[in-house]
Subunit: 223 residues, 2 copies
DNA sequence: GCTTTTTTGTTGGATTTCCAACATACATTT
DNA sequence: AAATGTATGTTGGAAATCCAACAAAAAAGC
């Protein structure tokens, strides 16, 4: 475990509020192990019982899925300091996705039961890890719910409006900047870029919004 | 705490694998309290810091949300033995939804920090509760991901196919029954019922599927 | 059996979205 | 400033979806 790896681990959300000294202790306690993977190597196989949580230390991994007919598709990625497999490990179900190394790299693996079962010395930091893990999964849950709310809208205008309302709410302000360019926003909303641009123009001329690049302002309806 | 309420609690996923005797102890340990609510009463307010988890003991509650302009919409419900508010409580964020009593009823409220912080006597069942909670949130996570995968498809055919592939996979078989009628399936996929029916007919004549009512069979493509 | 109700399939026109192509605006480089 | 590249806006026809209305089939009630 070199200094670089330790730094990555410290920025992993699983270890938030864990000091460097505690980190050493907790890693020992979790019996976490570091493996070297080479490009293309399967780390978790779809269908296997999920028992381990992975943390990317270097390189990056792809989350992949195969449908009934064997067609593979990439559904996500994880970069250094990011977790993967935690939802399956915590849910106690079999993996519905596979994880494959996209580059050579190093991965830390920790048995989820070890994480969840308190060690004899009932260390306070072990407790903190469980807390962090729950928080991570719950936060992801909220993100997924928000996105679901958007994608369940039928029209482009509704989707965009729903998204903008979410942003306005979290900004606590009717004007705000969004973290996407047009193409990125279109991808996020699940619509065509050109259709999105056209809809933005319409909504602008309908007096619903003002916007300039990634800056938006919602205009309260006058009823 | 009467016998009926106890029975409801025992079927709550939060208390899976907790015996009746342990349940008494753990409720005391969590300092859970039962409140009576009347129809229309606000239980959790949108915007407030989430600290408590709710369990419906009798009656039922609605999960509601208000957009930036104050329009209310119902986005979910919870019935006896079901949890609510757990994602926000665990994520440690403010409530992005409100919860309101749809009928008179009884609600159990438990401070989430109490749930997550082990009591002095470090009871084994308390540990079990944390484990259950994590499992519940993680499982919900997987469900949301699956639904997101479907809704992110652009066409009706893709959505249906993705859904059927999921069902085939979880059934481990190319034939299976789905738990929806046509209207229900259309709602789930986020499309029109008539468009769905038409698409099913097309896919049938294209030789992709066989189906009769809620029974489906996937036909492997012959390439 | 028959009638009634519910569910599912079909159809055609209005609407929306997709798609490709091009125009314009903006930023960067030379 | 000119040239290049990228992001965004606009447009028109093709394709898909929505929507309402109706037809057919299945289920439920009498």
């Amino acid at each position: 475990m070199d200094a670089q790896q330790l730094k990555i681990l410290q920025s992993c959300p699983l270890f938030t509020d864990i000091s460097r000294e505690e980190l050493y202790a907790v890693l020992n306690c979790l019996q976490a192990r570091v493996i070297h993977v080479s490009r293309g190597q399967l780390i978790f196989q779809e269908g296997q019982q999920a028992a381990e949580i992975g943390i990317v230390l270097s390189g990056w991994v792809q989350i992949i899925r195969e449908d009934y007919f064997g067609n593979r598709s990439i559904i996500g990625r994880a970069e250094p300091s990011q977790l993967f497999g935690e939802a399956f490990a915590c849910a106690g179900t079999e993996m519905l996705v596979g994880v494959i190394a996209a580059t050579d790299g190093e991965i830390m693996l920790a048995d989820c039961r070890k994480v969840l079962t308190l060690c004899k010395n009932s260390c306070t930091f072990h407790n903190k890890i469980i807390f962090n893990l729950l928080q991570i999964v719950a936060q992801k849950n909220l993100l997924l719910s928000q996105k679901l709310e958007i994608l369940s809208c039928r029209s482009t205008r509704e989707k965009l409006m729903r998204y903008l309302l979410q942003e306005a709410k979290s900004a606590g302000n009717d004007e705000f900047c969004i973290p996407y360019d047009r193409q990125g926003l279109a991808d996020f909303l699940g619509v065509e870029r050109s259709a999105l641009s056209a809809e933005i123009s319409k909504m602008r001329s309908d007096g619903l919004i003002e916007c300039k690049k990634n800056w938006f302002r919602l205009i309260p309806s006058s009823d």
